[in-house]
């Protein structure tokens, strides 16, 4: 386990993945085995661009000449504060803009959902050159603007309030590590602007019951205090919902699934203490009722130390830096 100030940046990669594919951003905040040191606040800006021209209509992969390429740009402000070395609070707030390259549909833009996370490391133990740690993570997300979730795939999000609970384990040996986590996402009902909709039956209400979702996330790579390079595999599974019918539009309570593979890099600059740069990219391997998105992004984060002592980059007793 390593305590690194800019860990919050990690939020982003999955955040982006999910958004590109129209899954709400909330789920994937701190999903790595890194904690901010006590009284340190790391924050920064992240930009991502994601696009797809193939999507899964149910399980059928197809294109849509009336959409062309659907792209999503996101700029997000994110922060992570260390209440203690073992307890961090994180947040993220993205602004999103969507566009279709063909057809006549209008793109959408706006502030999406505010995510808040609490990350707790109750267990950390050293075994010779390696360290094992466990985490419990809880998060909520709430829409912060009145964007519509009812113009998919151009909506900027699904507009469901969510609650996520995650269990995570991290193992580090020397400069190499692996992290695995599983998340359950409880999703609140969504309100539409119309008074009726059809799923597999007609609903005469503006409220949509949202199926819950789960994610599994596995990441591994090289990690020191200066540089992190990792590969990430993530699987988002909607626990219920229905398939898009033939040539229909997507709907907010569709069974959206996706598995994605990506890489993340983070580098802490030597010249400017506290500043780090990150870059990420990922592709969608398989999916259902979602676009096959590819994403590229980057960002910059900076750490401020509010503690009296100088310990911006505090490392734990087991630091392998």
């Amino acid at each position: 386990m390593q305590i690194i100030k800019t860990s919050v940046t990690r939020i982003v990669c999955l955040l982006i993945i999910t958004m590109a594919a129209c899954i709400p951003s909330k789920a994937q905040t701190e999903i790595d085995g890194i904690m901010m040191a006590k009284n340190n606040y790391c924050s920064g800006i992240m930009y991502n661009y994601s696009s797809w021209d193939q999507y899964w209509e149910g399980t059928l992969k197809r294109n849509n000449l009336n959409l062309g390429t659907v792209s999503t740009s996101m700029i997000a402000y994110m922060g992570n504060y260390g209440i203690s070395d073992k307890l961090n609070v994180l947040f993220g707030l993205p602004y999103i803009k969507t566009k279709a390259s063909a057809g006549t549909l209008h793109g959408m833009q706006g502030l999406q959902d505010l995510s808040l996370w609490v990350k707790w490391m109750p267990y950390e133990k050293e075994f010779g050159k390696s360290t094992l740690s466990f985490y419990a993570i809880g998060g909520v997300s709430v829409p912060v603007s009145d964007y519509t979730p009812d113009l998919l795939p151009l909506s900027i999000g699904l507009r469901s309030k969510t609650l996520s609970l995650r269990a995570m384990a991290d193992y580090q040996i020397g400069s190499w590590f692996a992290t695995a986590s599983a998340t359950y996402v409880v999703r609140d009902k969504v309100t539409l602007d119309r008074e009726s909709y059809y799923t597999t039956q007609l609903h005469n209400t503006n409220e949509v019951s949202m199926p819950d979702a789960s994610t599994v996330n596995i990441r591994a790579g090289y990690r020191t205090g200066r540089l992190i390079a990792e590969a990430v595999w993530n699987k988002w599974t909607t626990l219920g919902g229905f398939d898009i019918t033939r040539n229909n539009m997507p709907f907010v309570s569709n069974r959206m699934n996706a598995s994605m593979l990506g890489i993340n890099m983070k580098y802490n600059l030597k010249k400017i203490e506290g500043l780090s740069l990150i870059a990420n990219g990922n592709i969608t391997l398989s999916g259902r009722n979602m676009g096959q998105a590819s994403t590229l992004g980057g960002g910059a984060f900076y750490v401020i130390d509010f503690s009296s002592k100088k310990k911006k980059e505090k490392t734990s007793s087991t630091d392998k830096k």
Binding site: L65, N66, H106, R187, K189, E195, S196, N204, S209
Partner: protein, 516 residues
């Protein structure tokens, strides 16, 4: 610090988890509709003017057996047998259908329309397949329940239901057989009781007429609707509202009446409404010869126009010549300054949509995968009719008036659209991106506006206290098409007026059908 924070967080998380899980339940607005308890059973509705029937006795209903015959007593025992041990599921069905059969059939119709309102996917060569009534299960499923198709389907069902109930009411009064719960004190009345005679059963009439109509309108759903019909009829036996013979006589009457309507539907020219490539080309050259820019499909690949010959379908409220006579005058020329200004106005609406213009656009969009604008007006009407405590026959009459107005509005609007063949705003200025899908037919006049004008006119007559509200809704529905980037102002304003004119014919009928 952690000692305090962790328990607080745990409590907060648990609390919000419970909160969110509890809010997963959603309820439809009519799920808990009150049991139908009409303020007036309209005992003389057998004298009301039918739509197609020559009179209420066109299809005879034999006299029922006396209530003291062994056969009838056996029927009462069937009811008692069910009532001895009703399951939760059976009680739910009694309650569901107890809210009113016209209401529930109307909702089921809306469900089918929403399910089938999907444009077919193109062939590999860029042409489009057409659904086939002969093979409804092959892709593309039959029918494509687009707005004109569904307006007609709603109208046929509603008008047939109305005629069948007029006939039923005639025989109810004639034979005057009391409901089983009135004849036998041991039969419980699980639904509100009225003085309405139970032979033939109005619920069975509606089940029979609707199931029979499905053979024509939604042939892929005959099995589904038949199952609902059985459920509706059995629920009335279980509720002590009708005996087996009430049901059987009602279902048979319903099916006979439906056949009269399906016979009309087979010859109303809707079957030819898709037209042929020659027809499509003729529409284009007609516009060009007048010096106008002709409409073209904005879909990729270009899709043939939606039911271009629907304007020739035989209306219910007036004749074909009237369709041409009340066709609105031409839209501004595509080369005129006026058209330029109207296009500019839509561009300005669409440049910076607000959450309010998006809300209004989506509230009224009723596009692909929905029950269409006619379905939306049925939903609006149904919720008000519930409050009005109409009898089933008055429910049917009012739904028939509304849906005949909507179908005839579709005919007049489609006639206008394809007579002028006017392009959409996006065709004249490709910078106009829309907040909902652009329907695949010409702009002038707006279908939403025409439907809404017609619906508001007849509904305002039926429930005068809501006339202003309907009018406001119609205006907003009309405006929503400008906010969405779908229509020019002329399309909407003229469509609204034209729709009101069509609605006026429904009002004329309502004033003279003997019900008011």
């Amino acid at each position: 610090m952690r000692k305090i924070i962790i328990p607080i967080l745990l409590v907060a998380v648990t609390f919000s988890l419970t909160e969110i899980s509890c809010s997963k339940k959603i309820q439809g607005r009519t799920d808990e509709a009150p049991m139908l308890a009409p303020s007036n059973v309209d005992i003389n509705a057998g004298t009301w003017k039918p739509v197609l029937l020559t009179g209420p006795t066109e299809f005879p209903v034999p006299a029922p057996a006396a209530v003291n015959t062994p056969g009838y007593i056996a029927e009462l025992n069937e009811i008692k047998g069910y009532q001895k041990s009703l399951s939760n599921e059976q009680e739910k069905k009694i309650k569901y259908w107890g809210a009113g059969s016209v209401l529930r059939w109307n909702e089921l119709m809306r469900e089918l329309v929403a399910k089938y309102n999907l444009p077919p996917y193109q062939n590999p060569d860029g042409t489009y397949p057409f659904p086939s009534a002969a093979n409804p299960f092959a892709y593309p499923l039959f029918p494509f329940a687009n707005p004109p198709y569904s307006a007609r389907a709603y109208a046929y069902i509603a008008a047939a239901q109305y005629d069948a109930l007029v006939a039923a009411w005639h025989y109810k009064k004639l034979y005057n057989r009391a409901a089983p719960s009135k004849t036998d004190g041991n039969v419980k009345a699980l639904l509100p009781q009225t003085e309405l005679p139970s032979y033939p059963s109005e619920d069975a009439v509606l089940a029979g007429v609707t199931a029979e109509m499905m053979k024509l309108l939604f042939p892929g759903e005959i099995a589904f609707i038949q199952q609902k019909a059985e459920e509706a009829m059995l629920s009335k036996i279980m509720a002590g509202a009708a005996t087996r013979s009430d049901i059987e006589a009602g279902e048979a009457l319903g099916r006979f009446v439906a056949q009269k309507f399906t016979a009309r539907a087979r010859t109303d020219r809707a079957g030819a409404a898709a037209g042929t490539p020659t027809d499509w080309l003729a529409l284009e050259t007609s516009a060009t010869s007048r010096g106008e820019i002709p409409w073209f499909s904005l879909e990729i690949p270009k899709r043939p126009p939606m039911l271009p010959l629907f304007g020739r379908v035989r209306p219910f409220l007036f004749d074909e010549a009237t369709v041409v006579a009340i066709r609105p005058g031409p839209p501004p020329s595509t080369s005129s300054q006026k058209m330029k200004e109207e296009t500019e106005e839509i561009l300005n609406f669409i440049k910076n949509p607000t959450s309010e213009t998006i809300r209004i656009t989506h509230f009224w969009a009723d596009g692909v995968g929905t029950y269409t604008p006619p379905g939306h007006w049925n939903a609006i009407a149904a919720e008000d009719f519930i409050k009005a405590k109409f009898s089933e026959v008055r429910w049917a009459r009012n739904m028939a008036l509304l849906n005949m107005a909507l179908m005839d509005a579709a005919i007049v609007c489609w006639d206008t659209k394809f007579f002028y063949f006017n392009p959409r705003p996006t065709q004249l200025n490709s910078n106009i991106k829309t907040l909902t899908g652009i329907p695949n037919f010409p702009a002038y006049t707006s279908g939403h506006s025409t439907f809404s004008g017609a619906a508001a006119a007849i509904l305002g007559y039926i429930i005068p206290s809501r006339a202003k509200a309907y009018d406001d809704m119609a205006k907003e529905a009309s405006l929503s098409r400008m906010y969405g980037g779908i229509h020019y102002r002329s399309d909407c304003e003229v469509g609204l007026v034209s729709g009101k004119q069509v609605g006026g014919y429904a009002v004329l009928r309502a004033q003279t059908d003997g019900a008011d």
